[in-house]
Assembly symmetry: C2
Homo-oligomer: 418 residues x 2
Amino acid sequence: MNSSELKAACLEVKKASQVLGSLSESKKNEVLGAVHDALLKESDFILAENAKDMERAESVFHLSSSMKERLNLTEKRIVSIAEGVRQVMTLPDPSGRTISDRTLPNGLEIVKTSVHFGTIAMIYESRPNVTVDAAVLCLKSGNACILRGGKEAHFTNAALTQVIQKALVSCNVPKQAVFSILDPSHELVNELLHLRGIIDLVIPRGGHRLIQTVVSNSSVPVIETGSGVCHTYVDKEADLDKAVRIIVNAKVQRPSVCNAMETLLIHKDVADAAVKKVFPELEAYGVEIRGDERICSLWPHAIPAVEADWSTEYGDLILSVRVVDSLEEAINHISRYSTHHSECIVTENKKNARLFVNAIDAACVYVNASTRFTDGFEFGFGAEIGISTQKLHVRGPMGLEALVTCKYKIFGDGQVRG
Amino acid sequence: MNSSELKAACLEVKKASQVLGSLSESKKNEVLGAVHDALLKESDFILAENAKDMERAESVFHLSSSMKERLNLTEKRIVSIAEGVRQVMTLPDPSGRTISDRTLPNGLEIVKTSVHFGTIAMIYESRPNVTVDAAVLCLKSGNACILRGGKEAHFTNAALTQVIQKALVSCNVPKQAVFSILDPSHELVNELLHLRGIIDLVIPRGGHRLIQTVVSNSSVPVIETGSGVCHTYVDKEADLDKAVRIIVNAKVQRPSVCNAMETLLIHKDVADAAVKKVFPELEAYGVEIRGDERICSLWPHAIPAVEADWSTEYGDLILSVRVVDSLEEAINHISRYSTHHSECIVTENKKNARLFVNAIDAACVYVNASTRFTDGFEFGFGAEIGISTQKLHVRGPMGLEALVTCKYKIFGDGQVRG
């Protein structure tokens, strides 16, 4: 696929987005129902294509076992993906809502309405379930989508797109409403990021490098997602039992995800007690501790942390730990190294809690709870298309609401400006 | 100023933004009151500095008389700028509001709160009143700002910034909360646009070229403002008297601004009657008509339009006019050439009106009213920092609300994720 073919294809998607924007909620649910049924009906085909990717996973792409695990589809996973589609059917349509309706003294009625963005491009890595998730969340919110998955999932993504497109056509919706770029060229992604005016929004999902490439190169508006160097600060007035529960959960329950804790800060007055309580538990889970000088003197197993540790998202059973002299020092450390995702203070002191939540510049700031809760489903959104770490448009877990913008409809009777 | 000096200065602004984010509404109003008083007290100084710019306006910069008019300050203009500051004092603080407050079944309380962005950079052209407007709107919403005005207004902007900074200091607020880049180097702007992480938001205000340069080059999130190729479509079922009023107002009342009409589309069934009614009025105001073939045959004074006319924002007493065969053709024309700012249909047919407002992809879509109403003050926002033509975060006129983002504050009692 060359640059002008890409542009032509994206213009077709844009055209399809106009159709999608005019569909009623029940029609959109009919489409999602057809996608749900098609996934189940065509599961043999999908599994066969996924098997081709699995074949190449080791021989061609040398994927790690955890990456292979993410790529692999089973009958059960397809059922679960289809179940996800059914859940999106039950969510309210975020578009077409009246946000405000005012009549000015001159008689002009100004109606602010939520509307679809139009065309959304999603750039992501290996997990093929994102292909279906992204497509159905876009469809439900009236958006056409351009999907660019990882080359490791080439056959699976092609199959899933084909199945979704068949379902669209069966409902008389243009199949271009869901379009996958299967050509693995990186050049094409760069072209895509400059189709401002054709593509309304780009959402990258994946590792830090992918996200930074998109953020730095795109002239299409981007929602930055995901990177999380999340901190937990154990205050002088912390309940240490709560601290242990929160720390272990935030680090251990699923270390590979963006809302897992990477750095622990402990107030000096409770450092000794906290270390003795929490480190044995962490070590029982196999967590490697990288500590500053004071931590290393309190806990001989700890590896001395280097500067890079404070800004590293390990995504693994590794934790950097530092002792701070004050709440203020904790806030300063976080302000310096935070990726503005999720940060936590453990304290029984309400004033310190208030100071912390106000001062910390992050999407989600927790008092006495695990950062692992930063998630669209946990927040009750019923779906999640990513976690925004930027401040424009949407912050934190992104549900369907993140996929709409607004429009002012103004009704007059010949009014002119004086 | 070199690149590392710029970065150091912006880091100081970022530090000041943390102070601003913690100020109460009454403290912010105290600051604005001090700015108001200082502008009046120091008006002689400001006028003297403005005179230096006016001296260079012709000799060095060869400004047109309308540009000089924009640059020129008078005692009366300073009073009006100060009055604008007082008006912002009366507006409600957009930050610190609770947007939602829910308690999940697990006991976690999730409070979504509006908060300041942090540091906002504003890049604009010659009008020095923008310096004060931007500074006070940022201050009221708790944001520090980095201002980059036009080199033509160098002395005036320096003076205004100095006066504002003095007022800040008199209220014990760090003067770095309002910082002007006075070095005219274009390189510096480019550096500024890449200080992601230090600057939270860039808002360009000015001509098409300025805005496109910022949008294309910035890795800091941008709100695109301003360009307006605005259309008015006269439907087959239009009330032609209303059409004349609306067309004349949208074209003539202030042709240089972004919400003025640039292209008129007329349904073929009413083309003859509409042309006869509206063109003499437009010509009385000195409007030059550039028409398609059918218009030129109906109105011999018309100059034949060329392709470029349909995408040109004249900002002048020029109007491109085209006859269309249907509402659909009008929608297609607008979809192709719109800058997504403000579009209008004149019709008495409610179904056509509904079709038009739903199909047109623009910030403001009017039925039977002049596009000139797209304005923060007309919309009742009490202020305007620009008109967004993008879909992310804010669309249409931007008041104070556009200058805040949100944060989730989550209060727990030791909850962990299962």
